[in-house]
């Protein structure tokens, strides 16, 4: 098993305790790598102090802009 799959099984034991086979843990490890890459890209798009509510402000600011 990969280290990531091992980690998923350990996290599962410590938390949700779902029924997850070793094969499924390997699949989840691949999925986690994809999500990690997405998050890495997202980190480049925000600053230290940005908070999630910034999205709501962006929506309202753009709504106010007239075409």
């Amino acid at each position: 098993m990969s280290r990531e799959a091992d980690l998923i099984l350990a996290l599962n034991d410590a938390g949700p305790r779902l029924d997850i086979s070793e094969t499924r843990a390997e699949e989840l490890a691949i999925e986690m790598r994809q999500h990690r890459a997405a998050a890495e890209a997202a980190r480049r798009m925000s600053a230290f102090n940005t908070e999630p509510a910034d999205f709501r402000r962006a929506l309202e600011d753009l709504a106010r802009l007239r075409p």
Binding site: I8, L11, N12, G15, P16, R17, L18, D19, I20, R24, L28, E31, M32, Q34, H35, R36, A37, A38, A39, A41, A42, R43, M45, S46, T50, E51, P52, D54, F55, R56, R57, A58, L59, E60, L62, A63, L65, P67
Partner: protein
Amino acid sequence: MSRDWAETTLVETADAIRGGTVSASEVLEACLDRYRQVQPTLSCFIELDESEARRRAADADRAIREGRAFGALFGVPMAHKDMFHRLGRVSRCGSRVYGNPPDAPTATVMRRLDAAGAIEIGRLHTVEFALGPHGINPNYPVCRNAWNPDHIPGGSSSGAGVAVGARLVHAALGSDTGGSVRGPAAVNGVVGLMPTHGRVSRFGAVALSHSLDTIGPIARSVLDVARLLDVISGCDPLDPATIRQANTSFEAALLAADAPLPRIAVARGYFDAGLAPDVERALEEAAQSLRRGGFEVSDVQLPADLLSEIADLQPLVVKAEAAANHFALMQAHQHEYGIEVAQRIEAGFFIPSTDYVAALKARGNYLRSFARAAFDTADVLLTPTLPVVAPTIGETSGKRGAAYNEMVASLTRNTKVVNYLGLPALSLPCGFSTGGLPIGMQLIARPFREADMLRAGFVFQRDTDWHAIAPPRHRPAG
């Protein structure tokens, strides 16, 4: 020859009931007749409240005779995705393990439809927990495409797309987290509207992903969904995500003679990748039709890399939030979930909180970057709703592996990015494949500028008749 009131649009029907041209009971019977013809094949309803619907239609007719009729949807039969709470009733959201407490308050959108006089006649098929784009749910008989029962109905608002497309009801509400209103609308040849995030209250709807869930209507014309948006939208103290907006009528704006035409741009660079030839042809013809209708139609090159990043962030947010919502239920009942839905949620249990928060922190800047690229010279983007034509049920059920995952991902490729950006989008019919399946086009507008895309869609439907073509009436084999 008498008119078939199951075939008419929501607005035509509501106005005819109010004007006394037809009674609410006659309209209901037309819909029930259609139900008896096609439900055994299409399985789009999971429950029909026939006697209660008849009682309410009779009440509506009495009210009209006595001059007490009020509301923009008075006497019109509707049915909705089985995910909206109604006091005294249990909604299961397509699941074997979930059911809201019977004393859960009625969903805000249901209360608003009630106040407008709509008659709810039943509940519609949904993918389990509203999580899946093909529309298959192992807990129910297979729901089938309104145009060809061998093909998928789209999901997760599968029953809503099919019931409206096959003319069982005039309109339905669904929910859209990655394309679950627009996808079923596209593959069943009807109109689906996803409002701006915060325009419509989700209170009393079964949650999947609070950051992305949006309630929207499916109907047969753009005018229909404009009227429905007038009814269901508005700030709601019970849903803190709703945002207060000016109280304007979308329907009245569409009918205003002097309304300016928005500028339209065909989106290039992400939304036009990997298109099936039939879809590409239908989209180009739609652009030509819009030009003939008087619109300024240009091309806009969008940043494909940025949109690919957004496409990867949407499932991260859905899975993390779904896992949080399902934590206790899945611990107790993991093996009573359908395997595909369980596996979609499962990954969310292991996404680090740092990654989830990063996905949310970046959302505002992704939206600003996208808006700069998309809306500098246009008010509305034109894209295909789905890059492909609806696959067969055989291609989607019980399959696994990379090719299958790629096919499923293609069903939401052009819709899920819009959910992450929180923008409004409209899917409407724009043609048929060579195999006779509907093709949908998607219009995307700035936040809270639904009026722009509705105007474009309304004029398009004035000049074309794709939305007026009804599917064949599929009867059960044998």
